[in-house]
């Protein structure tokens, strides 16, 4: 009886030890993969940043009207942003390779899902970048137009247009990533509708007298002979 117990224990210990013996190399392989990925990522980051600094990438982006990217970059430097993306991308690849060394079936499933999802991430990224550039362009146009029309709160108008376009592009990006689902649509609808309603109420109630005075002035002007406009040219 005692012999049988000893045998069972030996078998069990042997199985655990053999499992451990087969698992440890996989763990070491994973750690090694991450370490190599970090080193390779750092080297690529260093080389890429040197090249981009040499090409004055930050200034060029600014010249092309893409300074919004700088606002979101670490240290307001798009070059550093590219560097971060490279090193974290490399670490992610290292982790994936390492996980594959531990469990192949799980990894295959994860990889196939990730690859299927990547186009969505890319399109969402493009949507946000395009939305940001468009928001900035429209905001500046509205600001200049409002100043030339001598409106008293041009910055408010410009800011409103900028955030409207930004929120719209982020909502479209999230929709593309299948994040939020119906809640996002609902929230966006309520937010947008709320803003429009608030603006309509503000103009309707707050500027009632201004609008009526403006109409009266317009009517008076039509009744009187118009003054010749100043000839700038």
């Amino acid at each position: 009886m005692w012999d049988q117990v000893t045998l069972a224990l030996k078998d069990s210990l042997s199985r655990v030890l053999s499992s451990l013996a087969s698992f440890v190399p996989a763990v070491v392989a994973m750690l090694l993969a991450v370490l190599i990925a970090v080193i390779v990522g750092a080297v690529i980051q260093w080389i890429l940043c040197r090249i981009l600094y040499g090409l004055r990438f930050d200034e060029r982006l600014n010249d092309w009207g893409l300074s919004a990217i700088a606002e979101w970059s670490p240290g307001r430097s798009p070059t550093r942003l590219v560097g971060r993306v490279v090193i974290w991308g490399s670490i992610m690849i290292g982790v994936l390779v390492g996980v594959a060394a531990l469990e192949t079936t799980l990894m295959t499933a994860m990889l196939s899902r990730l690859i299927a999802y990547l186009p969505n991430v890319f399109i969402a990224f493009l949507l946000v970048v395009f939305g940001s550039v468009l928001a900035r362009f429209l905001a500046r146009g509205v600001l200049i137009g409002a100043v030339n029309l001598k409106l008293q709160s041009p910055h408010l108008l410009s800011l409103g247009v900028k955030w409207l376009v930004l929120v719209l592009s982020v909502a479209m990006a999230l929709e593309h990533l299948s994040i939020g689902g119906e809640i996002l649509k609902l929230a966006f609808g309520i937010l947008f509708g709320g803003i429009v309603l608030a603006m309509a109420l503000a103009v309707g109630l707050g500027s009632k007298d201004v609008v009526s005075r403006s109409w009266e002035r317009q009517a008076d002007r039509q009744a009187e002979p118009a003054d010749a406009p100043f000839q700038h040219l």
């Binding site: 010249d63 500046r140 137009g145 100043v147 030339n148 100043f230 000839q231 700038h232 040219l233």
Partner: protein, 422 residues
Amino acid sequence: MVETQATSDATEPPATAPIQAGLAVAFAGQTTPELIGPLLRSAERELARGFPDRSGVFLLTEQDSADGTMAAARDAVTDPARLIQLAAPHDGPRAPSPAARAQTIRLIFESAAAFGADALAVIDADLTTLEPDGIHRLLRPVVEQGADFVGPYYARPRFAGAITSSIVYPFMRALYGRRLRFPAGGDFACSSRFGKFCSAQATWGGDGSRIATDLWLVHRALTGGFKMSQAVIGLRSGAAADEDAELSAVLARVLGALFIETERNVPFWQKVRTSEPVPLAGTPVGAEKDGPTIDFKQTVDAFRLGLDHLMPVWEVVLPPSSLHELRKLARRTEDQFRLPDALWARIVYDFAIAFHTRVMSREHLLPAFAPLYLGWLASHVAEMSGADFARSERRVEDLCLRFEAEKPYLISRWRWPDRFNP
């Protein structure tokens, strides 16, 4: 009988014309029966008196047939065969398009060449009140002195034409070295040589609008080695249809046309160091009546509004020293509100450089200039209140000299836009 040289469907003039004439006078733009009669009678008289040995032909762009303008024109001339109606390019059912100025002028040049005219005068019939011998003064330098292009010298009410006085004239004079006082005037005379040269150009610059076309023509005369002159012709009384837009749109159109030519003619203007006078026929005078007044407070408020809100845009275009000067200016009272000439010249040059280097969209850059122009206008009005014509012109002359003195700044920044930033 009125001979129609071209229809709205086909604007090509015939290769050979039935009559020949040494001189041509073209009336561009829409006019009225009340205006066209006296204008044509005066033109016919002037040609007969000033150039008795030459025959003339009158070219009239297509008019609204319903209001009797053409009938009045036929009645006014002694020989209706010498009155030629040209079809103006249309963009609507009736009125000619103001943006079709380039096509109209081109058609006039080609028609004058078809009639064998050595000298051509083009008059904006709806905008200019000619002096009794205005057409004669325009044509005489071409006929007697061999000039190729004769620009107008208008009498204008005080402060009118401020864009011309503050930007177009000083800028073009500094760049191209010729003192042509009204470079963007719609009335001019030219030789057949100049007309043929322009007709041979494949593309006519700008957006085809009145101001862009007029500036394009003057630039061809300035840079093409043509002999230039100018003549006092009368009062420029109105604004053209395409100039009747909002101020920032007018400024954008003018600056756009100027800066495109600046880019185009870099090798020419970078060699020019000083300016030379352009011969002038007649004695310049101011308009008898004052024009509409400028509200100083409103103008300064518009400048200050721009300073408060457009700083992020101006910071991209102007160096810190200019921005500092502008901030100081905004704090001044009316009697001290003076925009220094050197600062103004550098602002205009900085916008030309920003246009060239495309630091931002040109649709944003040019309208952002409007509050700065209003700042200059307010300063000019405050300084020149009570000034007579001679003093106003002296002031414009001082401004031009400052533009010429600051030209090295333009050249340096044009060559090294990033490195040269005082």
